[in-house]
């Protein structure tokens, strides 16, 4: 049927209905008592019929009913029949009203009718019948009684009674169905079905209303709606449910309604799901004052607010929130007194939401003028809103609030508390905040935690958590009465307990990973002094955990690390001085502290190339210890320099900004006097004929004197992953983890992650970039450009170099690296450990401490040991940094901190001439190269350089020593620079006692204290004291490594910094020793051996560290299997175990 037809039909129906409508009006006039039953009554009538006298109508109706009945019996399914059936029921539903209105005299007829009903039994709904019958009987009795009484009463009384009767029984509320349990109301197969209909989301309610109106409108037309009901649930958007016998009826009903999509399917709701549709219940969150909520929409969308008060119905909620007042209204019109325009502007599209800001009377006055703000007892009224204590107090509809999953953050809550600290109205206090996050508190409890019960019967009890089961925590109580008693406590009633002095770590929140000592505890707020910043930090006890560890966890966020120099924008660079969970605190060159997210950092800057000079014109290098000559006179180590003008210094004693500060380079002076400045013009290499040839054009070339940005630069690599897999190229540049690689094929430059690159050796071997290139040896080895060849060819003699006059021709491995290797500048290398993945000292600055004193050794007391008769002292001097500057074996891999050990060594050596001072790198480089290239040991290379007959010269013959390479005693100092001796000697790093192979022997190690004199460590009083280690624990990061040492002489126990602890040398036969390192790789490391022959230290060459003294050893198990090792590679042990 077309819509048009339908419409016409609909019209006709309406026309027809007009008549009864009018008639109804008339009737309404007659019976004003109750229009509802009246309406029903009129609607009950067949529209074709005249509104006759009531009795007649009754009768007719009865006839109708009979007819209907008959039809029903015949099971004629016509629309009319159903309609009539409906009408009949309608009538029965309202018939109770008819009793009242019916005249008493018709009682008999009624009775008959009643009988008829009963006799024929056509009423299917028995419930209804019973109901009907009893009701009617009651009515009958009633009326009879009234009849009897009537005679005795005056007409007035009767009238009153009637009036009363009518009033009372207008619509008697019976609640008759309320007794039936809900489960008995479950739908049965006889009930009509529910059909799900898709509608336009948001229009559900309108459509249900439309269906109702439509049903009423077309009720008496030829085509009434055949649906029984329709409903909608707020929690089921986009659909309504229609109750009908068939989907066709639903379709018809929905036809013509806007926003209904019957085409998207009218789906039957399974009978078992029908009830649940009506039972859906929104999870209720009861709002009480103090609850946190969020605003659902409008200007404050998403903002946290606190409930101040509620109306009884819970419809309106008084909230307190942080206002967002636009302090920069866009135009003058916005200043309208009404503020209407402005309001529009704020909510309009494109308008920027003003930031959250507490109400400030003065500010508002300035912007909006005095007349817009009024003060009303304690509160300000501005644009119809009330502001009190800086907060906006406003009523919101409950429906406009988000009450679930509010999860207020501590930041947000502190915004609320901050202002209220001084105020009288302390609705928000810290306990309220704790309340808000209490749920979370349960999750953070762990067995073993110390807790206290703060509420409930057991309040005050404290103990240790045994187990947690759901919300119940079993604790073992501690204390006087209850000690040891187990009890179960609701998890929300306990909180973690800390006492001053506890060492804690923050597990969550802004201060996550901070550690420190608790200084005060008040309820659930714990204040501790951070280990890192030395500042007091207050956190919730729930976020804390007892922890022994020290430090601030990871110092790395993203690609950036603590103390990195980073580019913030074109003009600004800064140094990261604090890492937070996902952000940094950066001190920029202007001294401003910024909170920076990793993505805001353009790049990391490498200032190792940067050149800056201090106030005296000396070059400033990273890690220099310098002092301000003006201003505050602060001291610190140079972290970075920027544009030759700014220097970022670090001093741990300064608490502000994590010890980092920025100053001008021009106002800095080196703390270490550099004296003996060699004129820059003096090219020392030229003095050494041996060096001139090999280093050739490299001298004075740009590469001289500069450390590489990244030693990977220049490395030949192969791409092992990604689109360029298999390509070979050379690293041209690196930035963080990204390398720029020039491919050999196609002459193409690509940017690629370094992790996808493997170093490629000429023989095709591949190796991870993070590994140090094999054969490179220690950094000092780089002074020898030939080491690469010397090594494989068994560079027993330095003359091998002659075979390969051009170091670069064949050594495609790391030319750039080699280039840099010309740079004898210890500073260049001192950076290396930071780059070295295998470095054991994660923080370059910690290790820094190890190096610096060594420097001081040389600077303050120019070579006290080298020139002294005490050879061992020389060894000690060298050992301070690297213990003996033994050859960093190519295969031992024991050169983890190469820069460190060698630097001091070199300084000790170069002390007389100070040839190693940074501004003169070439000068420093040459002596070694020259000693290297010395054709004969006797030819002391450029004696002037070395300034004196230091013992080193005595050792140079070692180069030519005819002893087999394996046992060639390494030359102290010299050997540390020569890579071509194959002996494997150990470079001990400062933390050698923490070596994992020594763990079991730690307390048996015979050690001595060395190198303290130069540093004035403990006044040098302990120099050369021997003793044993009582305890040592490796501390992470920036902390000085110390060990507890018992001194043999005095029996005194004290802590000594690890860097001053060196092994003793084996002294007698049968002494038990442990191998520190060995010639055949790491195999024997940690092995316990016995000295089989008396070690002879009388050899002239011995520099004191035993590196040249062979010791005969064998294992206890196989005494005959003797071996010779150097004294420096073993550590004697005490026999007895502590």
């Amino acid at each position: 049927m077309s819509d048009e037809e339908d419409h016409r039909m609909f019209q006709n129906d309406e026309d027809v209905e007009d008549a009864p409508g009018a008639e109804e009006d008339v009737e309404q006039g007659d019976e004003e008592m109750n229009d509802v039953p009246n309406k029903s009554q009129s609607s009950r009538r067949d529209h074709g019929e005249d509104g006759g006298p009531e009795e007649g109508e009754e009768e007719e109706d009865d006839d109708d009913d009979d007819d209907v009945d008959g039809e029903d019996d015949d099971e004629a399914p016509g629309r009319k029949a159903r309609k009539r059936a409906k009408h009949r029921h309608k009538r029965s539903a309202v018939s109770r009203f008819l009793d009242i209105e019916a005249e008493v005299s018709e009682e008999e007829e009624e009775e008959e009718e009643e009988e008829e009903f009963g006799a024929e039994g056509f009423i299917t709904n028995e419930n209804e019948v019973d109901d009907e019958v009893t009701r009617r009987n009651h009515a009958l009795l009633d009326t009879t009684r009234h009849f009897e009484e009537e005679d005795m009463r005056s007409p007035e009384e009767i009238a009153r009674a009637v009036a009363r009767r009518h009033r009372d029984r207008a619509v008697p509320y019976t609640g008759d169905m309320n007794e039936i349990p809900q489960r008995l109301l479950m739908p049965s197969v006889h009930d009509a079905s529910l059909w799900q209909v898709r509608v336009k989301p948001g229009r559900e309610r309108d459509i249900v209303f439309s269906l109702m109106r439509k049903a009423i409108d077309v009720e008496f037309t030829a085509r009434p709606l055949n649906i029984l009901s329709a409903f909608q649930r707020d929690s089921l958007p986009g659909m309504i449910y229609v109750e009908a016998r068939s989907s066709k009826q639903v379709q018809d009903a929905c036809n013509g309604l806007v926003g209904v999509y019957p085409s998207r399917g009218i789906q039957l709701v399974p009978i078992e799901e029908m009830a649940s549709l009506l039972q859906i219940k929104k999870k209720e969150t009861t709002l009480v004052p103090g609850t946190w909520v969020r605003i659902r929409r409008g200007k404050y969308v998403g903002d946290l607010a606190q409930v101040m008060d509620l109306t009884d119905t819970g419809e309106d909620v008084g909230l307190r929130l942080i206002p967002r007042i636009d302090l920069n209204p866009r135009d003058e019109a916005a200043l309208d007194a009404q503020g209407k325009k402005r309001k529009k502007g704020v909510s309009g599209p494109g308008a920027v939401r003003p930031p959250q800001r507490l109400f400030n009377y003065e500010e508002i006055l300035k912007v909006y003028g005095r007349k817009n703000v009024t003060k009303r007892n304690m509160a300000y009224v501005f644009q119809n809103d009330t502001y009190k204590d800086g907060f906006l107090e406003k009523d919101f509809k409950a429906s406009a609030l988000i009450t679930e999953d509010v999860n207020p953050t501590l930041d947000e809550i502190t915004q609320f508390t901050r202002r209220q600290d001084g105020g009288d109205d302390n609705i928000v206090n810290l306990s309220a905040i704790a309340e808000a996050s209490r749920k979370a508190a349960i999750a953070v409890l762990q067995p073993g935690d110390h807790i206290e019960v703060f509420e409930g019967e057991q309040a005050g009890v404290h103990g240790v958590v045994d187990e947690i089961a759901g919300d119940i925590v079993t604790i073992t109580a501690q204390g006087l009465d209850l000690d040891g008693q187990k009890m179960e406590i609701p998890a929300r009633s306990v909180r973690k307990r800390f006492k001053p002095g506890d060492h804690v770590k923050v597990m969550a929140g802004q201060n996550a990973d901070e550690t420190g000592l608790v200084v005060s505890v008040s309820d659930n707020v714990v204040t501790f002094v951070s280990d890192m910043s030395m500042q007091e930090i207050s956190v919730f006890s729930k976020d804390l955990r007892e922890a022994a560890e020290v430090g601030s966890g990871s110092n790395i966020v993203g690609n950036y690390e603590l103390y990195d120099l980073v580019q913030l924008d074109a003009q600004t660079v800064g140094v990261i001085f604090k890492t937070e969970r996902d952000s940094f605190r950066v001190l920029d060159q202007n001294g401003q502290v910024r909170l920076v997210q990793p993505h805001q950092i353009a790049m990391r800057r490498d200032s190792s190339k940067a050149i800056a000079t201090d106030s005296e014109g000396h070059e400033l290098r990273i890690n220099d210890n310098v002092k301000e000559i003006d201003g505050e006179g602060r001291k610190g180590g140079v972290l970075h320099t920027h544009q030759a003008y700014f220097a970022f210094l670090h001093n741990r004693d300064i608490t502000e900004n994590g010890g980092v500060f920025v100053t001008r380079t021009r106002s800095l002076a080196s703390l270490a006097p550099k004296g003996n400045v060699i004129k820059p013009g003096a090219d020392l290499s030229k003095m050494n004929p041996a060096l001139v040839a090999p280093s050739g054009g490299m001298v004075g070339s740009g590469a001289m004197g500069r450390g590489p940005r990244d030693r990977d630069i220049g490395t030949t690599v192969m791409v092992v992953k990604g689109a360029h897999k298999g390509y070979v190229g050379t690293i041209k540049d690196t930035n963080g983890s990204i390398a720029r690689v020039e491919l050999r094929t196609g002459n193409k430059l690509i940017m690629i992650e370094k992790e996808k690159l493997y170093r490629r050796y000429p023989d095709g071997r591949l190796e991870k970039l993070s590994h140090a290139p094999k054969g490179q040896g220690g950094p000092r080895g780089n002074t020898n450009p030939y080491h690469g060849f010397a090594a494989p060819s068994g560079g027993r003699t330095p003359f091998n170099v002659g075979k390969t006059p051009n170091p670069y021709s064949g050594d495609s491995r790391t030319p750039a690296w080699n280039a840099s290797s010309r740079t004898p500048n210890p500073y260049g290398d001192s950076r290396t450990p930071a780059w070295n993945a295998s470095s054991r000292t994660p923080n370059p600055y910690a290790a820094d401490g190890g190096r610096t004193p060594a420097w001081n050794v040389s600077s303050r007391t120019p070579n006290p040991h080298a020139t002294g008769a005490n050879a061992s002292a020389v060894g000690a001097a060298g050992g301070a940094g690297g213990w003996g500057g033994a050859t960093p074996g190519r295969t031992t891999g024991g050169w983890q901190t190469p820069g460190r050990p060698t630097a001091p060594t070199s300084s000790a050596w170069g002390a007389p001439s100070n040839g190693w001072s940074p501004p003169r790198p070439t000068a420093g480089g040459d002596p070694w190269n020259s000693s290297w290239g010395a054709p004969t040991p006797a030819a002391a290379p450029t004696p002037g350089l070395h300034g004196g007959p230091t013992p080193a010269y005595g050792q140079t013959p070692a180069y030519g020593a005819p002893t087999p390479a394996a046992v060639t005693p390494g030359v102290f100092g010299g050997s540390s620079y020569s890579q071509n001796t194959q002996q494997k000697m150990v470079i001990l790093d400062d933390n050698w006692i923490f070596d994992k192979t020594l763990v079991n022997y730690l307390q048996r190690l015979k050690i001595r204290v060395v190198n303290t004199k130069g540093d004035q460590y403990l006044g040098g009083d302990y120099e050369n004291e021997t003793g044993r280690i009582m305890a040592a624990q490796e501390n992470p990061g920036v902390f000085q490594q110390t060990a507890r040492v018992r001194l043999d002489k005095t029996g005194e126990e004290r802590s000594i910094q690890a860097q001053y602890i060196r092994p003793q040398l084996p002294k007698y036969m049968e002494e038990v020793v442990v191998v520190l390192t060995s010639k055949d790789q790491e195999a024997r490391k940690g092995l316990v051996l016995v000295v089989r022959d008396h070690p002879d230290y009388s050899g002239k060459e011995d520099p004191g560290d035993g590196s040249t003294v062979p010791v005969v050893v064998s294992s206890k198990a196989t005494p005959a299997d003797i071996d010779q090792v150097f004294a420096s590679t073993i550590v004697p042990l005490y026999e007895e175990v502590l």
Partner: protein, 117 residues
């Protein structure tokens, strides 16, 4: 037949706490609740309307044929007039009405679905 509110969107639709019928406040004032006027007596009394009806309801049912509808039966509105009913109504009737129901031995069933047996 109850008065069908003209606007479904209207913010001030109110649902009777006893029978869950939805009307605009004016209708309640004019003629009370067609189902429960006898006991709630809201006619003409704004106060009474405020305490016996609420805007806090969820879900709207168009009860077109109360007698036949299972929905109406489930909602226990089968004996009530045709009209718009709420599925769930927050709140309880005032205490005096509750007492009166008790006196009449009528079980009070709150419309907030708090007791479903």
């Amino acid at each position: 037949m109850a008065a069908i509110p003209p606007l479904a969107r209207s913010k001030n639709l109110r649902a009777c706490l006893l029978c869950s019928l939805i009307q605009v406040p004016n209708e309640f004032k004019k003629s009370g609740c067609p189902n429960c006027e006898e006991i709630l007596q809201m006619k003409g009394s704004a106060d009474r309307i405020a305490t016996c009806t609420t805007t806090q309801f969820d879900g709207v049912i168009a009860v077109i044929d109360p007698d036949q509808s299972w929905v109406a039966k489930w909602q226990r509105t089968a004996k009530y007039v045709r009209g718009m009913y709420a599925v769930r109504v927050n709140g309880r009737i005032p205490e005096d009405v509750e007492l009166e129901l008790e006196r009449r031995n009528i079980k009070y069933r709150p419309r907030d679905q708090s007791d479903q047996d």
